[in-house]
Each structure stands twice: as structure tokens, then as C-alpha cells.
Symmetry: C2
């Protein structure tokens, strides 16, 4: 195979004047150092965690297309409050894409790098919305025999996050988990993990069809947040499971607070005596996504031992240590096409990712909708 | 001194029908066991933490007075959402009053109890809105010579809470504290503690007069949340102090979220490079009061390592252990009329506490307004 001297890469630029510009840049295919491999990227997902960097706080209702079909350009206005938050990236043309998989087409001189030449690997390291991406061997994992790049594109963000929820539960000595946006790719992985590991899991969905998907893969506690009996259903499920730990992907609006209220109510109903200070049960909800960018609401009624926190995978992995990390990664490889199978709405090229209609579609972050970029397409 | 057989006590009853009833009950003065003392209560403050139990979630705009001047009765409607939260106390006539001080008029047979006979003591144990209150010797502290019951009425809730903030900062290895409602009795204690201990403290007030009070007792970082430059002033103060720990008495509304945003902004401004995942600085705000009962708002912009939690003194004291507790208590006694001096708006009798206008006044929980009940009056 002949390797070109340059490849295309998606870039996101926010200017000091408050403009977002998305474009394709032509960049040199790098020469690997001894421990590096160059991957021809074949599959890289658009996760909610990528969109923050990609759209840079812009108001996408102002987005306009220009350029050519092969070299599309998108521009949009970045409102002043977002612009302030972007101060540190102004004027820098930034590559995007947390994770992805592809074929190793060049390898450094070390045995570890050479062993991967011609193999399909999956990697985490940013800049994956590129035709060619160089990574250190420590940042990649070889895919199992027969696995495609599409199978291995989403090996890190969702699988490790789902596994980290169960690890967090064990570290904190809690009895179960409640999860929102439960019909997402990540949510479905979590259902399978918890079923296999015997971990009580309460799944919160927003539609009957989502409940049906989860039932189909063996979920037992499913609560619909749009039901008029939502709070009662949730309290009942929390009493049955003993879950005092929640992971919320929605972020904004009332849901995270409702989880805390329902956990407190479930604990209070088990009390014999009234206490003005609530149940005393320590509860924890982590916000790991912000599908809703409005403020999170925490009303009274949550007791006094509640905790609401931000959650990111990377600090968790650092805290968990090398043994836990290795165990988690091995499980992802072992169960790549079962537990950790991802479902994609469409497979698009780099140029198609900068098509205005397509961009609006994936930026809507609807549960059950996920786009996969194939830069080799 | 002759001790009557009975004494008056404030009672709060919430009925299943959704009525709050406040009244004075006549209860027997108890006979002390070996390790008990009976206190003739002379001073017991109305803290925000007492009001939750006293008003029982009632809508006090519906409050009506009945009964006599000596035996007043207040009734009010409890709206359905509050009533649900009160399920465990329905139909129980509950005594009120966390802390207070008075004269030991009866003592049990043990040497520890006998040693307190005729002494003024301060106690924590509930039911202090009573003419006579029996407590175990372990629940009381003898006041220093010359101290009045008024001096010693508020030895526990505010002083120990203020001290616990500094202890929490040390336990979490943080560099400073930010405090809201900073001109309160508790806030003024905190200013004095932090000044003596060299702890950087950012004080958030809502009025110029409150800022002046704090300046007068030596506060250096004072920020007015009603100023148009509030967020910038706060970020500057947080950058100067390095405070990543907040204690918020307001609870509802935007303030707690603003603290988290300002902490994240202060940490971000010290960063060399943009990260879509924020500064990585772990931040913590504790809500220890709910002067505002509307939902707490946490918008985006807080980074990903933020924590917002409920805070109560009692679990802190349990976690801190006996040595820390003893040290904290000793400091309160040593600095009773200096660091821990409380200021009261008015001293009222038990019956006056159930006067409708007076009740509205103290239930407003305005910063700088605090009522003291003298049941011996």
C-alpha cells in the first residue's frame, strides 16, 4: 500500500471576533518515532464529549455552509458568554476526535511498534477525525482477530465509562446504580455489565420504545421519566434495589435533583422515626454529560447528606490505578462484539461530517442516534 | 429556690389534615437519673435550623392566632408537597429548640451531676424551648465564671459549625474558604477564627452595611453579591486566596453555582493551555442552610471536578472524632465572649415566641436578625 504524504483532518477554530470555523486541513502524515504507530483511521465516533470541542460553544442555529463539496467550511456565531469560556483556545485551529480505530500503516523501530504493523488497532488520544493519526503504542490496543475498525471504533469512551460506574459503586461500597439516558449506547452496555455482574440497576428512559429496547436486553428496573407516576415509580425502584448512586447524562433541568429526592425518600420510608435532618443516608449523583445545557436544579427535600458532582472518565482511571485499568481494558476486548457492541445511525466521510444538515443531526445528541466517521471513505 | 412540678414548653404539631398547630404545653419537670441535670432554661436562640421543625413546612402567610396571651395558639396550612415530607411526624406533638443555657436546679446522684448543681450550663439536645429541660451531663458544658445564660445560649450550633468549616478545610488540604451570608452571627465568628488562624477567607455579603460590619472586625476579602461586578470581584478574590471550598447558607437560587463557576474560572486563568475538560481543579461547595427554599442552580461552566453537597454539623463531629471535638468545645468556652459572642435582636418569652408578628419577624431569617427566647421571663 502506498501512503500519501498528507492527509485530511477536521479542524475547529474559534476566533477572537466570536466566529466558529470548521474546515478540513491538509496535514503531513508524520514519521513515527521508535514507539509510535501511524494509523489509517477507518472509524471514529462522534461522541457528545467530542461535540464540545468541535462546535466550541457556537450557536449552531446561525451556522452557514461555504467552501466546496470536497472541502466544506462551516461558520457560526459564538455568543459572548461561550466566547469567554473559550478564551484559552481563541485563534488556535484545533483537531478533534477522542477515539477511533484503523489500520497500522507505518510503525516505529521498537518491537512493540513493529508487532502492530498491518494490524487493526483502536486508540484514544484526540485528533482522530483525521485520515492518518500517529499514536504511541501505549495509547492503542490491538483488536481481536476478525474485528473490524467499525467494531473497535468506540472501545474507550463508552465502554470504560460504563465499566467505571460499576467500579465506582464497588469503591464506594454502595448497593446499586441508577442511570439516566439509559437507552443510549453507553446505557445498553451498562445493562449488560450489571446483568452479568449481578449489580442492581435502575434505568431511566424517556420513551416506551427505549424501555422496550432495554427489556429486550434483560433490564429489570425501567422507569419512564415522562410518566405521571415517575417519582413514585423511581422511589419504588430505589427501595427495591437500594441504589444510592446515580449517573446522569442529561445534566440540566430537574432530573439530577429528582434522583437525589427519590433516594432520600426511599431511605426515609425505611426509617422508624421522624428526623428534621432527613434520613442521614449519604447519596451521590454524578453528572457525566450535559445533553441539556440549562442549569441543574436541586430543590429542598434531598436530605442533608446528598452529593452532586461532575464526573469524568480520565480522573477516575488515574485514581483507579494500573491493575483496575488493565482489567477494564481486557474486558472491553473480550466482549467487544457482545457487551460493548455500538450501534451507529450512519457512517460518513470527513467531508460529510461538515455537511450542514448532517452536523445539525448529530449535534442534536438524541438518545439512540450516533454517527461514525470513516475518514478512509 | 422552689421548683414547680410542671413547666411550659413550645410544641409543634402537624396534622394529617395539613394543619400546623403551635402551642404551649404544660409538662412535668422530670426527676433526674444519676447522671442527669435539670436546667431552668434562661436563654435559647431561634436558629434557622430550629425553624424547620417549628413551622413544619407550613405556609406562614396563612397563619392565624388564637388562644390567650398567656397560652397563645398559632395555626397555619401545610401545603401538600410539604405535608408529604412531614409524613413521619404527622400527629406527633413535637418539642423544639436545639440549644440553650440555664441554671442547674436539680442534679442526679453522680459526682459529675452534683458538681453542676447551682451552676450555669449550656446544652445541646433539643426541646430547649422549655422552662425546664433535663439533659445528661455529657450533653452540657459548665459556663465560665461570670458568663450569663445569654452569653452561653448559642455555644453549639454556630460556634461549632464555624469551627468545623476550618477543620474541614484542613482535613481536605485546601487553601482557603469562601462563605456566603457572611455578616450573620456565624459569619462574624468565622471571620474572627480565620483571622486568628491565618486562614484565607472570602466573605460574600448582600449589602454595604454588612461589608462595613465585617471590615470592622478585620475581614480582608469582602465581595457584594448585588454588585454588577460581583463575578469578577469573586474570581479575583478566589485567585488571591486560592479558596476552592465554599460554605453556603442561602441554598436556593444561583449563588452556590456561581461559587463553583468562579472557582473554576479562577483555576482556569492560571492554566497555560486550553482544555475542553476545564481546569481539572477539584472544587467543593457545601450547602449548610436554605435561607432561600427555591432550587439550587448549577449551570454549565463549573468544569468537571466540581462537588456540591449538603452539610450538617452532627455527622461532621462524628467523623472528626473525640479529640477534635474536645478541642473545638474548649475553644468555644475559652473565647465565649470574644470570638463566639452572639448578638440578638430581641429577648422574648415562650408566649411571645408564639405572637404572630414576632413569629413572622424571626421566620424571615434576615441576616443580622436573631431572636433569643428566655423561658424564665
Amino acid at each position: 500500500m502506498s501512503i500519501p504524504e498528507t492527509g485530511l483532518q477536521i479542524r475547529s477554530l474559534v476566533t477572537a471576533e466570536g466566529k466558529l470555523e470548521l474546515s478540513l486541513a491538509e496535514v503531513a502524515v508524520p514519521e513515527p518515532g521508535p514507539d509510535d504507530v501511524v494509523i489509517q483511521v477507518e472509524a471514529t465516533p462522534i461522541n457528545p464529549s467530542d461535540l464540545g470541542l468541535l462546535v466550541g460553544g457556537a450557536d449552531m442555529s446561525t451556522a452557514k455552509a461555504s467552501g466546496t463539496k470536497e472541502r466544506p467550511v462551516i461558520t457560526a456565531d459564538v455568543p459572548p458568554p461561550s466566547l469567554r469560556a473559550m478564551a484559552a483556545r481563541l485563534g488556535q485551529s484545533m483537531p478533534v476526535g477522542n477515539e477511533g480505530a484503523g489500520l497500522v500503516v507505518k510503525a516505529g523501530s521498537s518491537p512493540a511498534a513493529q508487532a502492530l504493523l498491518g494490524k487493526r488497532v483502536t486508540g484514544l488520544g484526540g485528533e482522530m477525525y483525521s485520515q492518518y493519526r500517529m499514536l504511541n503504542v501505549a495509547q492503542v490496543m490491538e483488536l481481536p482477530a476478525g474485528a473490524t475498525s467499525r467494531d473497535g471504533a468506540s472501545c474507550f469512551v463508552n465502554p470504560l465509562t460504563a465499566l467505571s460506574f460499576v467500579e465506582t459503586m464497588k469503591m464506594q461500597g454502595r448497593g446499586g446504580i441508577v442511570h439516566t439516558a439509559a437507552a443510549s449506547n453507553l446505557g445498553q452496555m451498562l445493562v449488560k455489565i450489571c446483568k452479568a455482574d449481578g449489580v442492581p440497576l435502575v434505568n431511566i428512559v424517556r420513551k416506551k420504545e427505549q424501555a422496550d429496547i432495554l427489556k429486550g436486553i434483560g433490564a429489570t428496573h425501567i422507569v419512564d421519566s415522562t410518566s405521571p407516576t415517575f417519582m413514585e415509580d423511581l422511589i419504588t425502584a430505589l427501595m427495591e434495589t437500594g441504589a444510592t448512586l446515580g449517573f446522569d447524562a442529561i445534566g440540566g433541568g430537574p432530573l439530577a435533583g429528582q434522583l437525589l429526592i427519590a433516594m432520600e425518600a426511599a431511605a426515609s420510608r425505611k426509617m422508624k422515626e421522624y428526623s428534621r435532618y432527613g434520613s442521614g443516608q449519604e447519596t451521590q449523583v454524578y453528572i457525566y454529560g450535559r445533553l441539556d445545557m440549562s442549569p441543574t436544579l436541586v430543590p429542598p427535600g434531598v436530605g442533608f447528606a446528598w452529593n452532586l458532582s461532575g464526573y469524568l472518565l480520565t480522573p477516575f482511571l488515574q485514581k483507579a490505578g494500573p491493575e483496575v485499568r488493565a482489567r477494564m481494558r481486557q474486558r472491553v476486548m473480550d466482549e467487544l462484539t457482545t457487551t460493548f457492541a455500538s450501534h451507529y445511525t450512519a457512517e460518513i466521510s470527513l467531508a460529510e461530517a461538515l455537511d450542514l444538515d448532517t452536523l445539525h443531526a448529530y449535534n442534536a445528541k438524541a438518545t439512540g442516534t450516533k454517527y461514525l466517521i470513516n475518514p478512509a471513505k
